[in-house]
Subunit: 193 residues, 2 copies
Amino acid sequence: MRGIEAVSIRDITKAARVNLAAINYHFGTKSALAAEVFKHCIEPLNVRRLELLDAVEKKAGDKGPRLEAVLEAMIRPAVERGFDQEQGEETFLRLMGRCLSEPNVEIEQLVRAHLEKVIRRFDAAFLRALPGLEPEELFWRMKFMFGALHFSLLTCGKQANLPPKLRKTLDAEGLLQRLVTFTAAGLQASVLS
Amino acid sequence: MRGIEAVSIRDITKAARVNLAAINYHFGTKSALAAEVFKHCIEPLNVRRLELLDAVEKKAGDKGPRLEAVLEAMIRPAVERGFDQEQGEETFLRLMGRCLSEPNVEIEQLVRAHLEKVIRRFDAAFLRALPGLEPEELFWRMKFMFGALHFSLLTCGKQANLPPKLRKTLDAEGLLQRLVTFTAAGLQASVLS
DNA sequence: CCGGAATTAAAACGTATGTTTTATACATTC
DNA sequence: GAATGTATAAAACATACGTTTTAATTCCGG
Protein backbone atom coordinates (compact mmCIF):
# COMPACT_ATOMS: atom_id res chain seq x y z
CA MET A 1 0.00 0.00 0.00
CA ARG A 2 1.54 3.28 -1.08
CA GLY A 3 1.21 6.53 0.78
CA ILE A 4 -1.43 8.14 -1.35
CA GLU A 5 -1.58 10.76 1.30
CA ALA A 6 0.44 11.22 4.41
CA VAL A 7 -2.68 11.40 6.51
CA SER A 8 -4.93 8.47 7.16
CA ILE A 9 -8.67 8.23 7.05
CA ARG A 10 -8.53 7.44 10.73
CA ASP A 11 -6.68 10.67 11.48
CA ILE A 12 -9.23 12.68 9.55
CA THR A 13 -12.29 11.12 11.06
CA LYS A 14 -10.85 11.31 14.53
CA ALA A 15 -9.99 14.98 14.13
CA ALA A 16 -13.44 15.65 12.75
CA ARG A 17 -14.96 13.57 15.55
CA VAL A 18 -16.98 11.51 13.13
CA ASN A 19 -17.08 7.85 12.45
CA LEU A 20 -14.37 6.03 10.62
CA ALA A 21 -16.75 4.99 7.87
CA ALA A 22 -18.08 8.49 7.30
CA ILE A 23 -15.62 9.35 4.56
CA ASN A 24 -16.26 6.22 2.57
CA TYR A 25 -19.96 6.64 3.11
CA HIS A 26 -20.16 10.25 1.97
CA PHE A 27 -17.38 10.39 -0.62
CA GLY A 28 -17.00 6.78 -1.59
CA THR A 29 -13.26 6.84 -1.50
CA LYS A 30 -10.45 8.71 0.13
CA SER A 31 -9.21 10.10 -3.16
CA ALA A 32 -12.63 11.52 -3.91
CA LEU A 33 -12.60 13.38 -0.62
CA ALA A 34 -9.14 14.72 -1.37
CA ALA A 35 -10.24 15.90 -4.78
CA GLU A 36 -13.20 17.67 -3.21
CA VAL A 37 -11.01 19.35 -0.63
CA PHE A 38 -8.61 20.54 -3.27
CA LYS A 39 -11.34 21.89 -5.44
CA HIS A 40 -12.69 23.72 -2.43
CA CYS A 41 -9.28 25.28 -1.76
CA ILE A 42 -7.99 25.94 -5.24
CA GLU A 43 -11.09 27.16 -6.95
CA PRO A 44 -11.59 30.31 -4.84
CA LEU A 45 -7.91 31.06 -5.17
CA ASN A 46 -8.07 31.06 -8.92
CA VAL A 47 -11.38 32.87 -9.00
CA ARG A 48 -9.77 35.58 -6.94
CA ARG A 49 -6.84 35.74 -9.32
CA LEU A 50 -9.11 36.29 -12.26
CA GLU A 51 -11.12 38.91 -10.36
CA LEU A 52 -7.96 40.83 -9.55
CA LEU A 53 -6.81 40.58 -13.14
CA ASP A 54 -10.15 41.90 -14.33
CA ALA A 55 -9.88 44.75 -11.86
CA VAL A 56 -6.41 45.87 -12.87
CA GLU A 57 -7.25 45.53 -16.55
CA LYS A 58 -10.34 47.66 -16.16
CA LYS A 59 -8.41 50.23 -14.20
CA ALA A 60 -5.58 50.38 -16.70
CA GLY A 61 -7.82 50.93 -19.70
CA ASP A 62 -6.70 50.42 -23.27
CA LYS A 63 -3.00 50.53 -22.63
CA GLY A 64 -3.19 47.45 -20.42
CA PRO A 65 -2.00 47.03 -16.84
CA ARG A 66 1.62 47.27 -15.80
CA LEU A 67 3.56 44.06 -15.36
CA GLU A 68 3.70 44.49 -11.61
CA ALA A 69 -0.07 44.76 -11.43
CA VAL A 70 -0.58 41.56 -13.40
CA LEU A 71 1.94 39.78 -11.24
CA GLU A 72 0.26 40.96 -8.10
CA ALA A 73 -3.06 39.65 -9.33
CA MET A 74 -1.45 36.25 -9.75
CA ILE A 75 0.58 36.18 -6.57
CA ARG A 76 -1.48 37.99 -3.96
CA PRO A 77 -4.24 35.40 -3.54
CA ALA A 78 -1.74 32.63 -2.90
CA VAL A 79 0.35 34.63 -0.47
CA GLU A 80 -2.62 35.92 1.45
CA ARG A 81 -4.15 32.49 1.61
CA GLY A 82 -0.88 31.28 2.97
CA PHE A 83 -0.77 33.78 5.78
CA ASP A 84 -4.36 34.20 6.89
CA GLN A 85 -6.32 32.02 9.29
CA GLU A 86 -5.46 31.27 12.88
CA GLN A 87 -3.93 27.89 12.21
CA GLY A 88 -3.81 25.52 9.30
CA GLU A 89 -1.40 27.89 7.61
CA GLU A 90 1.49 25.57 7.41
CA THR A 91 -0.65 22.66 6.40
CA PHE A 92 -2.17 24.44 3.48
CA LEU A 93 1.09 25.97 2.37
CA ARG A 94 2.87 22.69 2.31
CA LEU A 95 -0.07 21.09 0.64
CA MET A 96 -0.13 23.70 -2.10
CA GLY A 97 3.56 23.42 -2.61
CA ARG A 98 3.58 19.68 -2.71
CA CYS A 99 0.53 19.18 -4.86
CA LEU A 100 2.42 20.75 -7.73
CA SER A 101 4.96 17.98 -7.48
CA GLU A 102 3.54 14.62 -6.60
CA PRO A 103 1.11 14.03 -3.77
CA ASN A 104 -1.13 11.84 -5.85
CA VAL A 105 -1.47 11.58 -9.55
CA GLU A 106 -5.16 12.40 -9.62
CA ILE A 107 -4.76 15.42 -7.38
CA GLU A 108 -1.74 16.66 -9.22
CA GLN A 109 -3.58 16.61 -12.50
CA LEU A 110 -6.58 18.28 -10.95
CA VAL A 111 -4.52 21.11 -9.53
CA ARG A 112 -2.50 21.46 -12.68
CA ALA A 113 -5.62 21.59 -14.79
CA HIS A 114 -7.07 24.38 -12.68
CA LEU A 115 -3.81 26.25 -12.73
CA GLU A 116 -3.33 25.99 -16.45
CA LYS A 117 -6.75 27.41 -17.04
CA VAL A 118 -5.72 30.48 -15.11
CA ILE A 119 -2.36 30.67 -16.81
CA ARG A 120 -3.96 30.74 -20.22
CA ARG A 121 -6.03 33.70 -19.12
CA PHE A 122 -3.00 35.48 -17.72
CA ASP A 123 -0.78 34.80 -20.69
CA ALA A 124 -2.32 37.52 -22.77
CA ALA A 125 -1.92 40.07 -20.01
CA PHE A 126 1.71 39.13 -19.49
CA LEU A 127 2.52 39.25 -23.16
CA ARG A 128 0.94 42.67 -23.42
CA ALA A 129 2.90 43.97 -20.46
CA LEU A 130 6.10 42.47 -21.85
CA PRO A 131 6.30 43.70 -25.44
CA GLY A 132 8.75 41.71 -27.51
CA LEU A 133 8.86 38.66 -25.28
CA GLU A 134 8.26 35.45 -27.18
CA PRO A 135 5.59 33.10 -25.82
CA GLU A 136 8.16 30.36 -25.48
CA GLU A 137 10.27 32.53 -23.27
CA LEU A 138 7.23 33.52 -21.24
CA PHE A 139 6.39 29.88 -20.74
CA TRP A 140 9.66 29.25 -18.97
CA ARG A 141 9.62 32.44 -16.99
CA MET A 142 6.16 31.63 -15.71
CA LYS A 143 7.55 28.35 -14.48
CA PHE A 144 10.28 30.19 -12.66
CA MET A 145 7.75 32.56 -11.14
CA PHE A 146 5.59 29.73 -9.84
CA GLY A 147 8.65 28.03 -8.51
CA ALA A 148 9.66 31.11 -6.55
CA LEU A 149 6.11 31.60 -5.30
CA HIS A 150 5.44 28.08 -4.13
CA PHE A 151 8.86 27.39 -2.75
CA SER A 152 8.87 30.53 -0.67
CA LEU A 153 5.39 29.78 0.62
CA LEU A 154 6.50 26.28 1.44
CA THR A 155 9.53 27.29 3.43
CA CYS A 156 7.76 30.16 5.13
CA GLY A 157 5.56 27.62 6.81
CA LYS A 158 8.48 26.53 8.88
CA GLN A 159 9.61 29.66 10.58
CA ALA A 160 11.80 27.65 12.90
CA ASN A 161 14.26 27.24 10.06
CA LEU A 162 14.71 30.94 9.65
CA PRO A 163 17.41 32.86 11.41
CA PRO A 164 15.78 34.89 14.17
CA LYS A 165 16.60 38.21 12.60
CA LEU A 166 14.54 37.39 9.55
CA ARG A 167 11.32 36.34 11.23
CA LYS A 168 10.04 39.86 11.39
CA THR A 169 10.07 40.19 7.62
CA LEU A 170 7.72 37.32 7.43
CA ASP A 171 4.39 38.90 6.65
CA ALA A 172 2.15 38.54 3.66
CA GLU A 173 2.60 42.04 2.34
CA GLY A 174 6.36 41.90 2.61
CA LEU A 175 6.69 38.58 0.87
CA LEU A 176 4.28 39.69 -1.82
CA GLN A 177 6.27 42.82 -2.48
CA ARG A 178 9.55 40.91 -2.65
CA LEU A 179 8.07 38.30 -4.96
CA VAL A 180 6.65 40.90 -7.30
CA THR A 181 9.90 42.82 -7.41
CA PHE A 182 11.98 39.73 -8.07
CA THR A 183 9.76 38.11 -10.66
CA ALA A 184 9.00 41.37 -12.45
CA ALA A 185 12.70 41.91 -12.96
CA GLY A 186 13.16 38.33 -14.08
CA LEU A 187 10.31 38.54 -16.56
CA GLN A 188 11.64 41.76 -17.98
CA ALA A 189 15.19 40.51 -18.44
CA SER A 190 16.41 40.86 -21.98
CA VAL A 191 16.92 37.62 -23.82
CA LEU A 192 20.55 37.00 -24.61
CA SER A 193 22.15 35.49 -27.70
CA MET B 1 1.87 3.35 9.06
CA ARG B 2 2.59 6.60 7.27
CA GLY B 3 4.17 6.84 3.87
CA ILE B 4 7.68 7.68 4.96
CA GLU B 5 8.59 7.21 1.36
CA ALA B 6 6.45 6.48 -1.63
CA VAL B 7 8.51 3.45 -2.45
CA SER B 8 8.55 0.33 -0.37
CA ILE B 9 11.43 -1.78 0.76
CA ARG B 10 9.91 -4.56 -1.26
CA ASP B 11 10.00 -2.48 -4.43
CA ILE B 12 13.62 -1.60 -3.89
CA THR B 13 14.83 -5.09 -3.16
CA LYS B 14 12.85 -6.53 -6.02
CA ALA B 15 14.26 -3.97 -8.46
CA ALA B 16 17.75 -4.65 -7.19
CA ARG B 17 17.06 -8.38 -7.33
CA VAL B 18 18.21 -8.89 -3.78
CA ASN B 19 16.48 -10.32 -0.80
CA LEU B 20 13.84 -8.46 1.11
CA ALA B 21 15.90 -8.44 4.26
CA ALA B 22 19.02 -7.09 2.58
CA ILE B 23 18.23 -3.47 3.34
CA ASN B 24 17.57 -4.04 6.98
CA TYR B 25 20.63 -6.24 7.18
CA HIS B 26 23.03 -3.81 5.57
CA PHE B 27 21.58 -0.47 6.61
CA GLY B 28 19.56 -1.37 9.66
CA THR B 29 16.58 0.67 8.70
CA LYS B 30 14.92 2.05 5.62
CA SER B 31 15.56 5.63 6.67
CA ALA B 32 19.26 4.94 7.03
CA LEU B 33 19.38 3.67 3.48
CA ALA B 34 17.56 6.75 2.27
CA ALA B 35 19.97 9.00 4.09
CA GLU B 36 22.88 7.18 2.51
CA VAL B 37 21.38 7.51 -0.94
CA PHE B 38 20.79 11.20 -0.48
CA LYS B 39 24.27 11.81 0.76
CA HIS B 40 25.58 9.95 -2.26
CA CYS B 41 23.53 12.17 -4.58
CA ILE B 42 23.73 15.54 -2.91
CA GLU B 43 27.32 15.60 -1.79
CA PRO B 44 28.92 15.51 -5.26
CA LEU B 45 26.44 18.11 -6.41
CA ASN B 46 27.50 20.54 -3.74
CA VAL B 47 31.17 19.71 -4.12
CA ARG B 48 30.84 20.57 -7.77
CA ARG B 49 29.15 23.84 -6.90
CA LEU B 50 31.99 24.86 -4.67
CA GLU B 51 34.54 23.82 -7.27
CA LEU B 52 32.86 25.95 -9.90
CA LEU B 53 32.66 28.86 -7.49
CA ASP B 54 36.35 28.53 -6.75
CA ALA B 55 37.08 28.46 -10.45
CA VAL B 56 35.13 31.59 -11.33
CA GLU B 57 36.52 33.42 -8.33
CA LYS B 58 40.05 32.56 -9.27
CA LYS B 59 39.42 33.59 -12.85
CA ALA B 60 37.82 36.89 -11.88
CA GLY B 61 40.64 37.95 -9.63
CA ASP B 62 40.33 40.71 -7.08
CA LYS B 63 37.26 42.35 -8.48
CA GLY B 64 35.23 39.19 -7.90
CA PRO B 65 33.17 37.22 -10.40
CA ARG B 66 30.15 38.61 -12.15
CA LEU B 67 26.73 37.75 -10.77
CA GLU B 68 25.95 35.52 -13.72
CA ALA B 69 29.09 33.49 -13.12
CA VAL B 70 28.23 32.92 -9.47
CA LEU B 71 24.71 31.93 -10.40
CA GLU B 72 25.95 29.52 -12.98
CA ALA B 73 28.22 27.87 -10.44
CA MET B 74 25.19 27.32 -8.25
CA ILE B 75 22.73 26.25 -10.92
CA ARG B 76 24.73 24.30 -13.47
CA PRO B 77 25.45 21.20 -11.36
CA ALA B 78 21.79 20.74 -10.55
CA VAL B 79 20.60 21.24 -14.10
CA GLU B 80 23.23 18.99 -15.59
CA ARG B 81 22.56 16.32 -13.03
CA GLY B 82 18.93 16.58 -13.97
CA PHE B 83 19.52 16.03 -17.64
CA ASP B 84 22.33 13.54 -17.84
CA GLN B 85 22.15 9.75 -17.59
CA GLU B 86 20.15 7.44 -19.77
CA GLN B 87 17.22 7.06 -17.40
CA GLY B 88 16.56 7.86 -13.79
CA GLU B 89 16.33 11.51 -14.78
CA GLU B 90 12.79 12.05 -13.76
CA THR B 91 13.19 10.10 -10.58
CA PHE B 92 16.11 12.11 -9.37
CA LEU B 93 14.61 15.40 -10.43
CA ARG B 94 11.40 14.77 -8.58
CA LEU B 95 13.30 13.50 -5.63
CA MET B 96 15.45 16.61 -5.48
CA GLY B 97 12.45 18.83 -5.83
CA ARG B 98 10.45 17.05 -3.23
CA CYS B 99 13.14 16.56 -0.66
CA LEU B 100 13.19 20.28 -0.13
CA SER B 101 9.59 20.13 0.94
CA GLU B 102 8.62 17.09 2.91
CA PRO B 103 9.60 13.57 1.93
CA ASN B 104 10.71 12.66 5.40
CA VAL B 105 11.78 14.83 8.25
CA GLU B 106 15.21 13.27 8.61
CA ILE B 107 15.98 13.47 4.93
CA GLU B 108 14.68 16.99 4.65
CA GLN B 109 16.95 18.15 7.42
CA LEU B 110 19.89 16.31 5.92
CA VAL B 111 19.41 17.89 2.53
CA ARG B 112 18.76 21.28 4.01
CA ALA B 113 21.87 21.07 6.15
CA HIS B 114 24.02 20.27 3.13
CA LEU B 115 22.40 23.02 1.13
CA GLU B 116 22.79 25.64 3.81
CA LYS B 117 26.46 24.91 4.08
CA VAL B 118 26.79 25.70 0.40
CA ILE B 119 24.61 28.75 0.68
CA ARG B 120 26.78 30.23 3.37
CA ARG B 121 29.77 29.87 1.12
CA PHE B 122 27.94 31.45 -1.78
CA ASP B 123 26.50 34.29 0.23
CA ALA B 124 29.71 36.26 0.22
CA ALA B 125 30.11 35.89 -3.51
CA PHE B 126 26.56 37.03 -4.12
CA LEU B 127 26.86 40.00 -1.81
CA ARG B 128 30.03 41.04 -3.57
CA ALA B 129 28.44 40.78 -6.97
CA LEU B 130 25.41 42.69 -5.75
CA PRO B 131 26.76 45.82 -4.12
CA GLY B 132 24.20 47.54 -1.96
CA LEU B 133 21.93 44.55 -1.49
CA GLU B 134 21.15 43.88 2.15
CA PRO B 135 21.70 40.33 3.42
CA GLU B 136 18.07 40.12 4.42
CA GLU B 137 17.00 40.88 0.88
CA LEU B 138 19.48 38.36 -0.48
CA PHE B 139 18.08 35.72 1.83
CA TRP B 140 14.68 36.00 0.22
CA ARG B 141 15.95 36.26 -3.31
CA MET B 142 18.00 33.12 -2.82
CA LYS B 143 14.81 31.40 -1.80
CA PHE B 144 13.16 32.57 -4.98
CA MET B 145 16.11 31.38 -7.03
CA PHE B 146 16.00 27.92 -5.51
CA GLY B 147 12.27 27.80 -6.05
CA ALA B 148 12.67 28.60 -9.73
CA LEU B 149 15.48 26.09 -10.09
CA HIS B 150 13.82 23.17 -8.38
CA PHE B 151 10.37 23.76 -9.71
CA SER B 152 11.56 23.95 -13.27
CA LEU B 153 13.64 20.82 -12.84
CA LEU B 154 10.65 19.12 -11.31
CA THR B 155 8.28 19.95 -14.12
CA CYS B 156 10.84 19.28 -16.81
CA GLY B 157 10.84 15.67 -15.74
CA LYS B 158 7.40 15.29 -17.15
CA GLN B 159 7.78 16.33 -20.71
CA ALA B 160 4.40 14.90 -21.54
CA ASN B 161 2.83 17.92 -19.89
CA LEU B 162 4.56 20.33 -22.18
CA PRO B 163 3.01 21.59 -25.38
CA PRO B 164 4.78 19.86 -28.26
CA LYS B 165 6.32 23.04 -29.57
CA LEU B 166 8.26 23.56 -26.38
CA ARG B 167 9.89 20.18 -26.08
CA LYS B 168 12.79 21.12 -28.28
CA THR B 169 13.83 23.89 -25.89
CA LEU B 170 14.25 21.30 -23.22
CA ASP B 171 17.96 20.82 -22.93
CA ALA B 172 20.29 21.44 -20.05
CA GLU B 173 22.13 24.35 -21.60
CA GLY B 174 18.95 26.12 -22.60
CA LEU B 175 17.32 25.79 -19.23
CA LEU B 176 20.50 26.84 -17.49
CA GLN B 177 20.76 29.95 -19.61
CA ARG B 178 17.14 30.88 -19.01
CA LEU B 179 17.47 30.31 -15.30
CA VAL B 180 20.59 32.43 -15.05
CA THR B 181 19.04 35.24 -17.03
CA PHE B 182 15.85 35.23 -15.00
CA THR B 183 17.39 34.96 -11.57
CA ALA B 184 20.20 37.39 -12.31
CA ALA B 185 17.63 40.02 -13.21
CA GLY B 186 15.57 39.20 -10.13
CA LEU B 187 18.58 39.41 -7.85
CA GLN B 188 19.60 42.74 -9.33
CA ALA B 189 16.19 44.33 -9.05
CA SER B 190 16.25 47.53 -7.10
CA VAL B 191 14.52 47.39 -3.74
CA LEU B 192 11.46 49.58 -3.64
CA SER B 193 10.19 51.74 -0.84
C1' DC C 1 39.48 -29.01 2.77
C1' DC C 2 36.93 -26.88 6.60
C1' DG C 3 35.02 -24.16 10.04
C1' DG C 4 33.56 -19.74 11.41
C1' DA C 5 31.79 -15.42 9.60
C1' DA C 6 29.09 -13.00 6.37
C1' DT C 7 25.29 -12.96 3.43
C1' DT C 8 21.03 -14.60 1.58
C1' DA C 9 16.45 -17.01 1.63
C1' DA C 10 12.01 -17.53 3.16
C1' DA C 11 8.74 -17.19 6.36
C1' DA C 12 6.57 -14.93 10.07
C1' DC C 13 5.32 -10.87 13.16
C1' DG C 14 3.09 -6.87 14.41
C1' DT C 15 1.00 -2.92 12.94
C1' DA C 16 -1.38 0.45 9.96
C1' DT C 17 -3.99 1.21 6.12
C1' DG C 18 -8.54 1.82 2.99
C1' DT C 19 -12.70 -0.26 2.61
C1' DT C 20 -16.85 -3.13 3.63
C1' DT C 21 -20.25 -5.02 6.40
C1' DT C 22 -23.86 -5.53 9.74
C1' DA C 23 -26.57 -3.59 12.92
C1' DT C 24 -28.44 0.44 15.25
C1' DA C 25 -30.05 5.20 15.87
C1' DC C 26 -32.03 9.24 13.78
C1' DA C 27 -34.81 11.91 11.06
C1' DT C 28 -38.37 13.00 7.74
C1' DT C 29 -42.55 11.96 5.42
C1' DC C 30 -46.97 9.98 4.64
C1' DG D 1 -47.13 6.66 14.74
C1' DA D 2 -45.30 3.44 11.39
C1' DA D 3 -42.38 3.38 7.35
C1' DT D 4 -38.62 4.74 4.82
C1' DG D 5 -34.42 6.77 3.71
C1' DT D 6 -30.15 8.55 5.85
C1' DA D 7 -26.33 8.71 8.91
C1' DT D 8 -23.66 6.55 12.62
C1' DA D 9 -21.36 2.87 15.27
C1' DA D 10 -18.43 -0.80 15.83
C1' DA D 11 -16.37 -4.59 14.19
C1' DA D 12 -14.26 -7.17 10.61
C1' DC D 13 -11.63 -7.79 6.15
C1' DA D 14 -8.02 -7.89 3.12
C1' DT D 15 -3.84 -6.00 2.06
C1' DA D 16 0.66 -3.67 2.41
C1' DC D 17 4.18 -2.19 5.11
C1' DG D 18 8.94 -2.27 7.92
C1' DT D 19 11.22 -5.28 10.55
C1' DT D 20 12.71 -9.69 12.83
C1' DT D 21 13.67 -14.36 13.02
C1' DT D 22 15.33 -18.80 11.80
C1' DA D 23 17.72 -21.69 8.34
C1' DA D 24 20.31 -22.36 4.63
C1' DT D 25 24.07 -20.90 1.73
C1' DT D 26 28.09 -18.78 0.26
C1' DC D 27 32.68 -16.93 1.11
C1' DC D 28 37.41 -17.25 2.58
C1' DG D 29 41.48 -17.46 5.52
C1' DG D 30 43.78 -21.33 8.17
